[in-house]
Symmetry: D2
Amino acid sequence: MAIRALVWGENVHERTNEVVAKNYPNGMHERIAEALREDANISASTATLEQAEHGLTVEKLKDTDVLLWWGHAAHNDVSDEIVERVAERVWEGMGLIALHSAHFSKIFKRLMGTPCALKWREAGELERLWVINPRHPIAAGLPEFFELEYEEMYGEQFSVPEPLETVFISWFQGGEVFRSGLTYRRGAGNVFYFRPGHETYPTFHDATVGQVLRNAVNWAYNPQPILADPTNAPNVPVEEAIEKIVERGPRLHADGEEGFR
Amino acid sequence: MAIRALVWGENVHERTNEVVAKNYPNGMHERIAEALREDANISASTATLEQAEHGLTVEKLKDTDVLLWWGHAAHNDVSDEIVERVAERVWEGMGLIALHSAHFSKIFKRLMGTPCALKWREAGELERLWVINPRHPIAAGLPEFFELEYEEMYGEQFSVPEPLETVFISWFQGGEVFRSGLTYRRGAGNVFYFRPGHETYPTFHDATVGQVLRNAVNWAYNPQPILADPTNAPNVPVEEAIEKIVERGPRLHADGEEGFR
Amino acid sequence: MAIRALVWGENVHERTNEVVAKNYPNGMHERIAEALREDANISASTATLEQAEHGLTVEKLKDTDVLLWWGHAAHNDVSDEIVERVAERVWEGMGLIALHSAHFSKIFKRLMGTPCALKWREAGELERLWVINPRHPIAAGLPEFFELEYEEMYGEQFSVPEPLETVFISWFQGGEVFRSGLTYRRGAGNVFYFRPGHETYPTFHDATVGQVLRNAVNWAYNPQPILADPTNAPNVPVEEAIEKIVERGPRLHADGEEGFR
Amino acid sequence: MAIRALVWGENVHERTNEVVAKNYPNGMHERIAEALREDANISASTATLEQAEHGLTVEKLKDTDVLLWWGHAAHNDVSDEIVERVAERVWEGMGLIALHSAHFSKIFKRLMGTPCALKWREAGELERLWVINPRHPIAAGLPEFFELEYEEMYGEQFSVPEPLETVFISWFQGGEVFRSGLTYRRGAGNVFYFRPGHETYPTFHDATVGQVLRNAVNWAYNPQPILADPTNAPNVPVEEAIEKIVERGPRLHADGEEGFR
């Protein structure tokens, strides 16, 4: 069965800004889904902010293997309840790929536990992404580096936790550098941050960017059964201890009582 | 100048449970502070849940180098606003040491981005902590392993992010294991999770536990100036780019406009 | 095409020790290969110390995707030249799985850069392996923990570098713990250390151990083209710089000269 | 007591190349030691390749807390025996700071277990080092970035293991990037790789580079007692097991026998 990718798009600038609308007439989410569909092993659908529950119903998330997230102007319009729902699905094993300005999305900040701040400049400058982890699955088929002629600059320091692995580092014409591809695991879910993708530039029409997205979906996909109840902290009663032990000392909890949380 | 440690205690069971009150007649926070004061380089004060702003005013936090956190029954009574305030201080450079049941404290979960769940059993069983990272600053002066005769069991899987380094792993009499000492960096702040410390047992009277706490405070202390405004994402105007560049392509933001967040 | 696994066995104790011979009448390598073949996606062959070039010819390694290594009594009989050859293949992208006493094999120590020492006791005691990274590919299909009734004890401190991820931690009946499943990347090659497998016990006949080995081969396999010449440090001549630069200052090297190494 | 730093210099180009001799009339090692001495807490001495045992006698290493290593043309003239001696001292707890072309030194490659290869260009181009881990001890007192007007370019991919933390990333005028400050732990020893330092340029006269070196020595220093016999793998006899166990099953080793290695 194909990997079920869901591309979530904020879909705001596509409808309010002429340049973005021209770049992505069907919305950025549709363009990204289209790029994913070049891989026969990926089945891609989309969801947007303005839909009921932002298109991220319990049912839809249950049927999603990897979620891609693009947001920018409306991070704060995403409901906290949905963010928690998505976080819990990641912990269960759904992959998450945060794109560009999603560094400041509620869901990415929620999973990182850090500010996820950075420097930025919108000047259509050249970005060169160096593959510093060649033969990492996310870099499959890529050359030593690839370039995006027009991109927004993001500069370090990028306040995220130390990643499991760094895949890309960007060189910017204006003098900055940025860790542009970072991997994390959160619970049973694989998380990837990918830097490029400013809406006024044609980034998601770029062939290499498409390749990275397809690679990332394949990497983030966890084929194993979900990790059920990831927030549960079960009590192991003394009489069910693997090694026989005898209860000693005073107790706080009565038999069968739930733990505090 | 001494390191300014602040021990935060929930101070609930000490007043409602006879056993805990006998273990810690002045509260767990006071006992922990006492243990820290054995190091002349540490100046320790305390704060508790029932105080105004939980004793964690902006001013008090500003004067705190390392915060130790013990909570259990009342995690949910801690105000979200104070949690965000503490998180921001960690990102600025304040150290945080989460003790035992603080695995489920709002602040620890906030900084980890994961459920921080585990298995548990309250049977007063033997815990043996192995030092798996000898000569790590937090293990200074410790033997190969040390034992706590009476402890609550915490068992894996402990759903936290992969740490920077693992310092201790516990062996439990009933058959479980647990990563009992884990280090993280969040922004400019050093974070340490230390497993032992169930309130019905005399753990914080143990000499080796005291040594670990003092070591951890010294390790977590960041002597450098605070990292100001850690959540700020500054724009770098084109005319201030380090390398001269010429603006190209369409723009979303007007000159001087703030970024979205 | 199936993953081409090669199981390297020292094949010494199988021929000199009656117990080991009875456990593994065709050699440990053959038993391990047999366990791998339960996965239709793995094609497993074997090689042993006494063969010409230890069975690890340039050609054979070229045709190997994942190498499994079991050695114990004869680590020092492995030629340094072959060790370098294997290391270079790992850097090119071949996976390596080091089993049990291979913690002290030349190849594992070569790739770790640390002593890889540990404590040990040969008493046929119970080992319980906890899955601390559930839904990691190497833990696919495993329960929360699994047990080996008879195993040699390996105890911490295990002097290896901090891994990318820890997958298993063992509890031993005699009171020790051990990080029993550790992942690394070395160049383009994935490396996994798996603890169990003492030759006097029937470990490699255990069904769950077989599952771990098959999982590990699938995880370690890098389907991408080899990373050619991993030890090469190419000069980038000034006239081929991506961004036009003008040479300045004094030079050590003449045009076209090789770098020092 | 001050930290005892030892600066090891190859001292070849200083005597054979006019430019280098003019840059560093007393040798690079002496200039580096001089920079370290600006910190009253560091006591710096030097050693060079041509000395007996390369100046790295057992006694001298025993009296060294942190070793800094600069080599380039004569990596292969360093004796393998001395390299092993230094590696063992690192595992015991001595810090090691590898400078610039020491990426290809025997000792750095020995501790990394990877090729440590990279791209290079000798064109006196601008290097800008971004501090991506602000408030890390090695970045103490540094601005957001600092520049070296004339440096050799080193470009990714730098084939080293994923570090504990990345401290600096360099931007090069010619279009490349490089992870210029990387931390590792090997046994009880802290290891830091720092990129700048080409001998034909005045890098070690730069004030910020001096600050980094002093910071790095303070960071790498491990004040704890040495970790004795790091390569030893002790047997724990059954009768000395912490938890009482009864020996079962067949044994390979006779009582008191050494393990294989």
